[in-house]
């Protein structure tokens, strides 16, 4: 069976002023459907860059990236935006909710890009908020929610359009241990019970324990399976 994500010979170089920095070097990686992969490694090892490439937020300098057998490294900016809307749910360290919108309006954002009617969108938002246990807080604005609750809203937003992949960048980096464990348990539940493929970047070894696989990165290359 072909992997959900297939990365072949991917390099990524950034030019900052006169300096060109190679962040990823000829990287190969396969991620199976239904996997919960933790990408670990020191700062600057290239894990967030790799996550951005898989999520279609950035394009590689060389190599190819396939998701569900579709090459995404050659898509135009608009085609990539459409692809992200359909296939990827993003979860960030600092939640990145829109402060002027209520929790339910934040969750509804990805659905605005679909053909769903208002009633259908409302139903999907309610279901996503129920999955993360925040039905009671639907009308609250982000500043009326705790950090853990905001991250749950962000997870609901990532889930609501039923994406192929969930891409998480340090999802517990801004949370205390107890709240972090609750969020990670939720992600684990989404992986185990809803079959969601999750790729998570983390510095936190305890967070990585919730994943089914752990990969270590160093200096822009995979350094092997983490313990």
């Amino acid at each position: 069976m072909s992997p959900l994500v297939s990365i072949r010979g991917v390099s990524k170089r950034y030019t900052r002023g006169k300096q060109t920095v190679e962040v990823l070097r000829k990287l190969d990686l396969d991620i199976a459907s239904g996997d919960f992969l933790a990408l670990m490694g020191p700062s600057g090892s290239g894990k967030t860059t790799l996550l951005n490439l898989i999520g279609g937020l950035d394009q590689p300098s060389d190599g190819e990236i396939r998701v569900n057998d579709k090459r995404i490294d050659q898509l135009s900016s608009n085609a990539l935006a459409k692809w992200r809307a359909r296939h990827v749910g993003f979860i960030f360290q600092f939640y990145n909710l829109l402060p002027v919108l209520s929790a339910e309006a934040n969750v509804e954002l990805p659905l605005l890009l679909t053909d769903l009617s208002k009633a259908q969108r409302k139903k999907a938002v309610a279901a996503a908020l129920a999955v993360v246990g925040l039905s009671e807080r639907a009308t609250h604005k982000p500043n009326e929610l705790s950090g853990g609750q905001q991250q749950r809203v962000a997870i609901a937003r990532a889930l609501v359009a039923d994406p192929t992949l969930l891409v998480c960048d340090e999802p517990t980096g801004d949370l205390d241990r107890k709240t972090a464990d609750e969020v990670l348990t939720l992600l684990q539940d989404l992986n185990r019970n809803y079959g969601k493929t999750i790729i998570m970047v983390t510095h936190d070894a305890k967070a990585a324990e919730f994943a089914t696989h752990r990969l270590h990165m160093d200096k822009g290359a995979l350094a092997g399976e983490a313990p």
Binding site: A81, K82, W83, N96, L98, L109, L113, R157
Partner: protein
């Protein structure tokens, strides 16, 4: 429509800034609506519709007097109901700060021509027979406390007496009021008996500044005006006859090209508004770069993000503009009253101009922030680089 709640919520990103910007827009569009309405009024051509009073002045200038000898020929024109004459006196009461208009008139003719003024019969008779008599409007009475029997000294900056003095004294013999609230509001003037004025003045005897013609049928006013002017064509006293409303407006027109003045003022106002609103939009987008990056991350295309920012600019300009224009309608009514009932109306064409201005303003203030949001790179914006 599905993006409307998002656009609406985004407007309230910084409430204080939103309110201040909206207030600026409201003030600008109120000024726009009002000044354009006034400009339309001043730039409009002669309008005889419904005019029951005409004013005849010397063709060259209203400062050139017309001989009273023209009276019989004007009275002889069919359709003329009553003719009065009036001479602006130009008197200063106490000092320059206490100026109010006074006109030397033939009492009976004046009061017949202006049934809108109400005056008790005995006071009317006193005004007719008292050569140095004067009647004062209710508003002047309220301001200066004039009462019947008072002697009012006026120093005319136009007319000297035969003895070389500019000091005139008038006896208050009546107090007139308006027949309704509108006319009562205009009663801040004084009428002087032409008798003393004409006898005692050093020059210009037997002449008046203007004739006031009351017409029997307002539908005939244009024909009568043309007939009056034709009567005195190619004579030493050529005339110009227009409706009372147009004559009043002609004073304001002498200030200069009202349209140009209005355009200049509005140009300055909208240049300032462009900077204020442009700054608001730029700041609003700059502060929300990470939010736009999130929208792009979620799959909003470059075009959609551009449209969202432009929609925000449109919403801002439309809300401010429409509120301003509604207030302009109210302000126009007030100004209309101040201009003695001249119809200052925010016409449909002004609404169209305002709407076009809102659209242009929205594009001008929204386009650069929108392009900035469009061009942002997600990865850089999320990393706040």
């Amino acid at each position: 429509m599905r993006y409307l709640p998002l656009v609406w919520a985004s407007l309230f990103h910084k409430k204080t800034r939103l309110i201040l910007t909206l207030l600026s827009l409201i003030a600008a569009f109120m000024l726009f609506g009002l000044l354009q309405a006034v400009s339309v009024l001043f730039s409009s051509g002669a309008d005889f519709v419904g005019a029951n009073r005409l004013i005849t002045q010397a063709r060259v200038s209203f400062t050139q007097p017309l001989p009273l000898a023209l009276l019989p020929r004007i009275e002889a024109i069919p359709g003329v109901a009553r003719v009065a004459w009036s001479q602006f006196f130009g008197g200063i009461y106490i000092d320059e700060r206490h100026f109010f208009p006074q006109f030397a008139v033939d009492p009976e003719r004046l009061l017949d021509s202006y049934p809108e003024w109400t005056l008790p019969d005995d006071q009317r008779e006193a005004f007719v027979r008292t050569k140095n008599g004067a009647i004062v409007g209710r508003k002047l009475v309220e301001k200066y406390g004039f009462k019947i029997g008072d002697k009012v000294p006026l120093k005319s900056f136009i007319f000297t007496r035969k003895d070389g003095s500019r000091a005139w004294e008038w006896e208050v013999v009546g107090i007139f009021d308006g027949q309704d609230e509108d006319w009562a509001g205009r009663s801040n003037l004084m009428y002087l008996n032409f008798g003393q004025f004409d006898e005692a003045r050093q020059f210009g005897q037997g002449s008046a500044g203007v004739y006031i013609i009351r017409v029997a049928d307002p539908n005939e006013s244009e024909r009568i005006a043309n007939e009056v002017d034709r009567q005195f064509e190619n004579s030493p006293d050529e005339t110009k006859t227009q409706t009372e409303r147009d004559w009043n407006l002609s004073f304001a027109r002498q200030i200069g090209d009202i349209g140009l003045i209005v355009t200049a003022i509005l140009g300055a106002v909208f240049f300032t508004i462009l900077l204020v609103t442009g700054n608001t939009m730029s700041q609003a987008v700059r502060e929300r770069i990470p939010e736009f990056a999130v929208l792009k991350t979620l799959g909003f295309s470059d075009g959609r993000v551009t449209a969202l920012v432009l929609a925000e600019a449109f919403a801002l300009c439309l809300i401010g503009g429409l509120i301003g224009m509604v207030l302009a309608v109210g302000a126009a009514r007030v100004v209309s009253g101040l201009l003695n009932g001249s119809p200052v109306v925010v016409q449909p064409v002004v609404w169209l101009q305002a709407f076009a201005t809102m659209v242009l303003l929205a594009v001008a203030v929204g386009i650069f922030p929108a392009l900035r949001a469009r061009r942002l790179q997600i990865v850089d914006a999320l990393a706040e680089r």
